[in-house]
């Protein structure tokens, strides 16, 4: 039962996000945040992608990249996945399945809330995450995506 409910949720989110995405096309619906000590001012979109797919492991200043994703409950995740990672949710899941069982890597941890996201980024030196636009980043540092 629980499973079905979850699926129903996911379906609803998917519908909503599709509509939402079409309504806000070509606009930045998220901001990328990093640890406040992180020296970077802007971040390359491809680097960001590699970081979240764990293809890149270190920042230019040597810190280990620690990406954090938002839970699938948030529509912005789909946007981020599509626009930065150039994947659908299913594609990403499949990608991580492959990575997990082939021993190559593990997916980024997920934050169940904005607060949790911000806390994680602030707590970990090399962390990188994202927030829906308009969300207050707290002590996290917002960097520009080029």
């Amino acid at each position: 039962m629980q499973n079905l409910t979850r699926r129903g949720w996911m379906f609803a989110v998917a519908l909503a996000s599709t509509r939402w995405r079409s309504a806000f096309a070509a606009t930045d619906h998220f901001v990328v945040i990093v640890h406040p000590d992180n020296p970077v001012a802007s971040i390359d979109r491809d680097f960001l992608r590699d970081a979240f797919l764990k293809k890149a492991t270190d920042w230019s200043h040597g810190e280990t990249i620690r990406p954090i994703d938002l839970s699938g409950r948030f529509g912005v995740r789909d946007v981020f996945t599509r626009e930065v990672l150039h994947k659908t949710a299913a594609q990403l899941r499949s990608y991580w399945n492959q990575q997990i069982f082939s021993g190559k890597g593990t997916p980024p941890v997920e934050a169940d809330s904005m607060v949790e996201m911000i806390d994680y980024v602030v707590a970990n030196a090399g962390a990188v995450g994202y927030l829906p636009s308009g969300t207050a980043p707290g002590r996290a540092k917002v960097v520009e995506v080029k």
Binding site: S71, L92, W96, N97, I100, F101, G103, T106, P107, V109
Partner: protein, 622 residues
Amino acid sequence: MPRRIPFRYRVGLLVLLAEIALLTVTAVSLVLGNRSAVTLAGIETRYVPLIELDRDLKTTFAQLTQTLTDAAAAGEEGKLHDADTLRDQFLRRLRMGARTIVDNGGDPTALSVELALYYGPAREISLSLARGTPEGQVAPQAEAMQRAQFAFESHLDAATAPNRERLAAAFEAARESQRASLLIDVAVAIGALLVMALLSWWIIRTTVRSVHAVTAGVERLAAGRFDQEIVVESTDEIGDLATEANRTASRLREYREQIEQQHWISTGVAELADAIAGELELDVLAKKALSYLVTYVGATAGTVHASDERGTQRLVASVGTVGAGAGGSETLKTTLPHGERVMGVLVLELPAPSARAGELVARVRTAIGIAFRVAESRHDTEELLRTTEAANRELEAFGYSVSHDLRRPLRAIDAFSRALVEDCAAQLPPEGHDHLHRITSGAQRMAELIDDLFALSKVTRGEFRREHVDLSALATLILGELARNEPERRCELAIEPGVYAEADPKLMKIVLENLLGNAWKFTSKLAVAKIEFGVADGVYFVRDNGAGFDMQYAKPLFSPFQRLHTDKEFAGTGIGLATVSRIIQRHGGRIWAEAAVDEGATFRFRLAHEDRELASHPVRRE
């Protein structure tokens, strides 16, 4: 020198050894090659299972992770059973290859534990993902799981990857073994080659040396030197050849010695004959013969005794002192025979026994005996001849004087008888005439007799000279003369043409005059006379069909004054055939007659001794 193996066995041995060497080299090669192969096979049996195990385990593990991935992606929990099956399969294979892993230095138990440590979380993660858990939520477990996986995979690698050091050592051992094989192989091959080369060299050397010895020996034989033996000690075929060649050489040596001895003897005989040739004085002859023999046979001393008819011996020749020779010397003593008689005794003393000297003496003793006899008889003959000649001379003188002295009174008788007839014819009565006529004819006949006797003596003593005489022409001439004197006679003459003889022409005329004259005379009473002259098988003949004679009186026919017919029947002196016989004898021939009363007579004669007939064969020219 040891007895040698025959050549063919030597070659056989060489071939056998070559085969053994080849087999040895091959066997060594095989054994060593096998050792290398065993080493390599060891590597294979050790490492191939490991590699297979490595491949199997890794493949199974890859299938396991893929199945877990698929289960998670497809959300099908059932797929996890497949994963379990693969896990079991992995463990089974691990157990099967446990020994291999242990041998490789790995720990299969630890591996299975580590697999469990991995598989449990991995299965959980797959299950939760299959149930829809967001992947981000499994990340911490996934990280732990991946550490376990890494540890497991690392250990699996270590357990199943071939130990490089051991593998390298194994290959090094194999290489070492191969190198050693090669070295031993080459060494054995070189050794075999050396042994073969030594054997070949030995065989060739001994064979070539024997062949050289035989070749040199045969060349010596070809050059006529038989005195040196071929020295080949081997008992092989070449040794046999050498033995044969030596045997031939010794036979040739014997033949040559025999020939040399024969030649020595013949030379001795010939030279002795030369030395004593023409020598008729017995003492000189003996001295010459002895002196020659002593020198030729190398005698130290020698004597010759001659013995006369009564057997009395006297020393006629002597060289050195017989009987003074040192001990061990050889004395040759032999009689010199002539027929039954011993003409003398020859003694030779030699420094050593000599077969050839003995043989030479045996060959010449008869010759010397004959020479002695000839010398002796020559001596007798000369005596006889001297006596005879004197007697002959006296006889001749007597004959001449008789004929000469008788002629004068005969001529007186004849002359005075004629004178009486001429001068006193008127005074003589017819009876007186008759008496005177008888006196005259008696005197004439006496004169003829004297002439014939004179002729006979001359025939015996006169000059003698052989020429080529045409007897046919001579016979024709004589018969023609006779026919002219009595033209009234009818006579058939058969003179074989072309009959020649090597004889004295004057004497042959006398022979034919007498024989043909007789034939003419003894056929005078026949109406048709028949006279033949010819030659057959070297015998001349004169044949007539006249009165003939009784063969029992034929014997004294050729003696003087023997007549078979009276003067009334046929005129004649009885000296003619005696003269003919003498002439024929002087030619060395013989005359004989065949006849029967009233059936004619045939006189046959030869003009040479029958033995010498071939030399002076009468020639018939057609």
